[in-house]
Amino acid sequence: MFKIVRDSWLIFGSALRTHLREPAWVFFGLFQPVCYMLLFAPLLKNLVGVPGFPTGGAYNVFTPGLMMMMAIFGTGFAGFAVIGQLREGVIERLRVTPVSRLAMMIGMISVALLTLLVQTLLLLVLGLILGFRPDAAGMILLILLELVGGLVMASCSYAVALALKDEGSLAAAVNLVALPLLLLSGIMLPLSLAPDILKNIAKANPLAYAVDGSRALVNGHLGDVAVYQGFIIFAVLAVLALYWVTSAVRKAAM
């Protein structure tokens, strides 16, 4: 156990150092959510009060969803980093050392999660300026839920990257999975406005539960069933995704 923590920390330190040498990442990752916040959220203002629209005001409905979107899309591309490393022989070199395979992945993925956290805090500041009014305890739990979601997606992204070994294919794969997940999660417009058929399909979408949970959290309903569902689903997926990516790196070769 000590070895896993130590190895994760060492790999994290190195991955963070290389990441910080290309500081463009924060801004690229943040550009999309900021656009949504400034150019899309205002459109929702006129929907407040429409039957079926959740309570809490436009920004309280949209901001938590946007955070989930960053967890899915932002970290979905985290696997790009590993393709370069695979090509340069970095992964192979690490695989000959006694480093724990799980720690190797946790260390690398943690950088994507740290990036997500920084972006979330910046978005939160923007949201507060515009009129987002979250419950404080709920907000902390929401960030935690977002990070667990990011862990799921980043792990999957790394696992797929290790299998496909090509940036173009990875981008296509992420879009293929993330876009339907996103549209069927109620992030853009609440699913309560959706026809029954979409509502039923969305029941199979883990992200939809997390989005419901996240809206309950910002409004201070910490004990809402959607909160439990969101955390449990993401936690189970996180364990499975970590297992997947660790077995992928055990065999990784260019």
Partner: protein, 321 residues
């Protein structure tokens, strides 16, 4: 004790419906404290064998021990004992040489202070001082290779595995790497390396193995391998299109001095005894039967000839391939 010992080591890959037998029963013995060279044409199974021995790839069959540990069951223990420098090196390009070295040491369990000290030691030993604190992606080929080797030495392994350590380097950089490899052996390390260069195999390696089609076709000291080709080699440059080969074979086949005759793309190689005495006879006989000879050379056998005889391919073709 043998540092590497393999018995019928095999690896087959399954790609859709095809199975490729990359390594078909390799028996190798690398002894303690020697420089062991591993050669073979491209696709002969060289890299696959190396990747198995460095725990990157699971064997399909056979047995192997590395540093006395079983390759299948004790790979964790093997990893602590070996240093591996792949063809691409594997240093992180966006970090400095020193950062790479320190991380490498720490992954083998060294404390920060120990790793810093060892990194500084290797930086001065391998003359990396002027560029150790620059990002790897700014390094020249020779600088990069020296750093790669320092990475492999960081945890003082008993066995160092080098995959084509000098490929693509200028003569000066190659010489520095040879010196370092010899120095490591003098200090008690065992080195297992692959190479495409005959001079490297000949002057650097204590023993050699040649692999072809997934099997070892020769394993011995460079001198003993050369002595397998008794006598001298006459290389005839001929126009091979119009059945010349068969005609020459017929003429020379019956001669008592001929030990072996091999066709190449642009002529023939004759393995003969007392080449300088035989050469005039060869020319006279061929002149009689009307064969047009373009070039003639007479040579003592080199490792290049050993390679050619064992694999049917010349190393020079391999390099350009």
């Amino acid at each position: 004790m043998a540092m590497i010992e393999t018995h019928k080591l095999t690896k087959t890959f399954k790609a859709r419906k095809n199975t490729v037998e990359a390594v078909r029963g390799v028996d190798l013995e690398v002894r303690e404290n020697e420089i062991f060279g591993f050669m073979g044409p491209n696709g002969a199974g060289k890299t696959t064998t190396m990747r198995m021995l460095s725990t990157l790839l699971d064997p399909t069959g056979g047995q192997a021990t590395v540093c006395g540990y079983d390759l299948r069951r004790e790979s964790e223990k093997i990893r602590k004992q070996i240093g591996y420098v792949g063809q691409k090196g594997g240093a992180e390009p966006k970090e400095t040489g020193r950062e790479n070295l320190v991380l490498q040491g720490r992954l083998y369990g060294m404390s920060k202070a120990e790793a810093d000290k060892r990194a500084s030691e290797l930086i001065s030993r391998l003359d990396l001082d002027t560029f150790a604190d620059r990002l790897i992606k700014t390094y020249s080929g020779g600088q990069r290779r020296r750093l790669d080797i320092a990475m492999g030495m960081m945890h003082r392994p008993r066995l160092l595995i080098l995959d084509e350590p000098t490929t693509g380097l200028d003569p000066q950089s190659r010489a520095r790497i040879w010196d370092e490899v010899r120095r490591l052996r003098a200090e008690g390390m065992t080195i297992f390396l692959t190479t495409h260069y005959m001079d490297e195999a000949d002057s650097l390696c204590d023993r050699l193995a040649i692999i072809d089609n997934g099997k070892i076709v020769g394993e011995d000291t460079p001198n003993a391998l050369k002595q397998q080709i008794a006598g001298d080699i006459i290389t005839l440059g001929l126009n091979m299109q119009n059945g010349t080969g068969a005609k020459v074979k017929e003429t020379l086949g019956a001669q008592p001095f001929l030990r072996e005759l091999q066709e190449t793309d642009n002529g023939l190689q004759l393995y003969v005894e007392r080449g300088e005495e035989v050469l005039p006879d060869v020319l006279r006989l061929l002149d009689h039967n009307g064969t047009r000879i373009r070039t003639v050379t007479l040579a003592r056998p080199t490792l290049e000839d050993v390679f050619l005889r064992l694999t049917g391919r010349s190393l020079r073709e391999e390099q350009s391939a």
